[in-house]
Amino acid sequence: MSRPSPRTVFLEALDQETADQRDAYLASVCGEDAELRASVESLLAAHERPANPLDQSPLTSPLDPTLVADLVGPSEHIGMTIGAYRLMEQIGEGGFGLVFVAQQDKPVRRKVALKIIKPGTGSQEVLARFDAERQAVAMMDHPNIARVFDAGVTKDARPYFVMELVRGEPITDFCDRHGLSLRDRLQLFQDVCAATHHAHQKGVVHRDLKPSNVMVTLHDDKPVVKVIDFGVAKAMGQNLTDATIYTRFYSMIGTPLYMSPEQAAMSGLDVDTRSDIYSLGVLLYELLTGTTPFDRKRLDSAGYDEMRRIIREEDPPKPSTRLTTIQSLNSPTVAEPRDDSTQAAEARARRESIPSDLDWIVMKAMEKDRNRRYESAAAMSADVRRFLSEEPIEARPPSRGYRLRKFAARNRAALLTGSLVAAALVVGTAVSLYQASVAIAERNEKEIALRDAISARQEVESFAERLKTANVLLGNARSYEDSQQYAAADSAYSEAVDLVPNYYLVWVQRAALRGRLHLWDEAADDFAAAMRLEAPIDSRQWEGAAAIFHLTDRTNDYRAIYSRLMEPPTENPPPLNFHSIRACLISPADVPDARRLAAEIESMLARSAGPPGGPWGPGSWGRPNRDRDFRRDGPDRGPRPLGPNGFDFNRPEPGDPPSAGPGFSGPEPGGGPRRPSFEDRVPQSVMQYVAAWASLRAGEEQKALEHLDAASNSRGPSGDMVHSLRAIALHRTGETEQATAEMRQADNALDKAISEAIESPDQRRPWIDLLEMIILHREATREVLGTDAELDPRLVAVQQSARDLLRL
């Protein structure tokens, strides 16, 4: 027999269930071959060692700048002479070009700004385009446009522009720092429009209008707008073809925040003056609200395609729905609300609404369809002027037919964001209100019918509008939450709650966040509010609600959720799902209820047991369908989170089946086709633990102990949650000594779980686990030891700091 390879032996050894079996296997295979044995042993040791670098993504620190940056650094430019200009100091850099302060000596002595493309980025195409454009750029002459003095090409074929050196600050910073009133802001904005209009008439499109290109300088204490870089983007060859634009996309635009949908689409559609109108809309939006229409962090973190989708498809919330500190048309403001996460609360208190006419102006400029935007910058400016002189503006609420189309688009957006429930709610309400209005109209009671129809429509529209905004906020909040910016997340959830307080989803989402931060009281309030809105409570998001109610002594709320779960108001209710059973087991109403729960979990357990040698049976390598856990399969043999598969099911997954909402009929009576069940993914050991709990509740201690043993012995997530239950069971069967010993293990397990929860607040472990541990530990302490368990002071401290963080 030939000698087996270390690889084969290593993998076979890993498949052995226990350490003893492994030793026996190694002994039998290696025999006298000490070398083989040592090799395999060292591999096994390496396998078990924690923190294997291969389990982490290769590199998360920045790449070395000298590697990826272009070979000629800025330092090599300083002192260089280009034409009549001597480069002095670098003041800007994009992926594409460099900007310097340069000294000109002849014919006049002055400082200028010189923008030159980086070495290696030029091409024949760029040069041809540059020649065509420099003429147009030179034609511009407007007090609000930075002058272009000169343009040329260096010996190494790099185009450059020489421009008026504008010493100022971006318009948004200027307005905020000087606390400009709404009127002053709008007047400055009109100057931007005038500059843009002038350029457009000369056939020059800016393509990159954004605050850093719209500077404000003070001339004799009077602010003067200077738009810089007009036409430079195009002349310098940006935007050549789809293929190059993609590569240069980030460097060219720098930020997609101000980019029009057609620019984002990169469809090859010519970018024209209307793209600038869109950017003007974004600029005005930011001047009014202090924030950009789309969330900066969200766009930054979105992938390329997602970012394009957002810009092309999502409607930003209207300016008037955003917080602002600009108090009124004429009074100056005190502070700027740019950091929305920390100042949101104050800002909300001082909140003044932006006049709705300005909403229309901004939204008209920012229309996705460029044909619907203002036909010129002058037309936009004229509308701003009309607003300032209190004349009727041109931008009007769109027609009914148009709104209907927008409505469909909105629902699509809602669907895309995964908020099926929201969509159902909108459609349901819209349809029924519309039908109502039709029915009334048909009664031919002209006036009343007409009035009702109008108000019904308005109601639908305004509700739909707020719901849309709320959905955007929820999306933002979720991404904040994912990036662990809890204060910002909570503030976005709270804003959504203020906006649509009758929409249960916003409450549930905030509850989940607060629950995750151990803020049980706050989470309980939110869950209770959602319950009063008739939210469907058998969805995954509700896991933990019952435990929280119980833990915070909200007996009535617990009873309410309990009876809605146990006796749903439908005929032939479907069997309880896994987490509903857990919720009810916390405090069953009576023994028959407990027996029913025990029966349901037993049958679930039987269903999931599957064929012998199932998921965790001997001989199978790892676990099927658990690749994301794969890397952690090695060294970590400790107890696993009890949530199925370590999956945080407090939060909805994208693509989660919709929870039944008012628009849905709920689970089919009589049990329709069973949807791919969540129970299928619950590990056996977790089921065993719940079954033990149920047996205990039903008064079957012996059975409970059997289930507990199964839960502990399983190789899968065995859990540190079994101890309290076992202590109770032992105590009731008269094994007092063992029960007390088990209590000590329960103490330790709880202590450890609390440490873990505190040390890694972003644990993937569902917080329901900890809640259940606390609840059962309390119960066991009282029953077995006859004392009351105090709440761990560390949790109290964590709660307090979470409250401070959220400013509650």
């Binding site: 690889r7 290593f10 993998l11 890993l14 060292s42 591999l43 096994l44 040791a45 390496a46 396998h47 060692r49 294997n52 670098p53 291969l54 389990d55 993504s57 290769p58 590199l59 998360t60 620190s61 920045p62 790449l63 070395d64 700048p65 000298t66 590697l67 990826v68 940056a69 272009d70 650094g73 330092s75 850099e93 994009g94 992926g95 073809t241 293929a243 190059t244 993609y246 590569t247 240069r248 996309f249 980030y250 460097s251 720098g254 930020t255 992938g303 390329y304 395609d305 390598w621 790892g622 690749d627 794969f630 090695g634």
Partner: protein
Amino acid sequence: MVKSEVSQILHQIENGDQHAASQLLPLVYEELRRLASNKMAQEKQGHTLQPTALVHEAFVRLVSGEADGDDPHKWDGRGHFFAAAAESMRRILVESARRRNAQKRGGGMQRCEFTENDAILDHQDDATLLSLDDALTKLAAEDAELAKLVQLRYFTGLTIEETADVLGVSARTVKRHWTYARAWLRRAMDAEE
């Protein structure tokens, strides 16, 4: 244009032109470098870069069709692309780590500012990456296919299934090979310390 060039090369490889494969690497390498450079230009100092995300972006850009019906996962040339991308990414990261290491020892031509935290973190990461690179080279000498698998998984972030797909083997095989290689590399890295 780069995209059509890459597509063309991939077609040539598919049609049996082994010479074409050597043309693929520089193109993919250059593209990844450029993407990384653009990302760096827009990110603030200290921002993190996700190499595997970069590879997928390059894939979308260079290989998968823009036309709606063109499912990138059905594209036969993707294996070659990801192999080239993995190799490129490894080179880029390793080269970057080497340069930074050299700078920290004072051998660099340019002075770079590092905060204290940066220095500590980067040093660790760089050292680990370089030692992994060495180990990987040793593994390749012993079993080239195994090293290729690790490179695919680690530097491009392909999942087990995707790796299996690209290599034309079963997911179970990939898992077993990965488990072995993971332990093997760890042992090799530990031995160096």
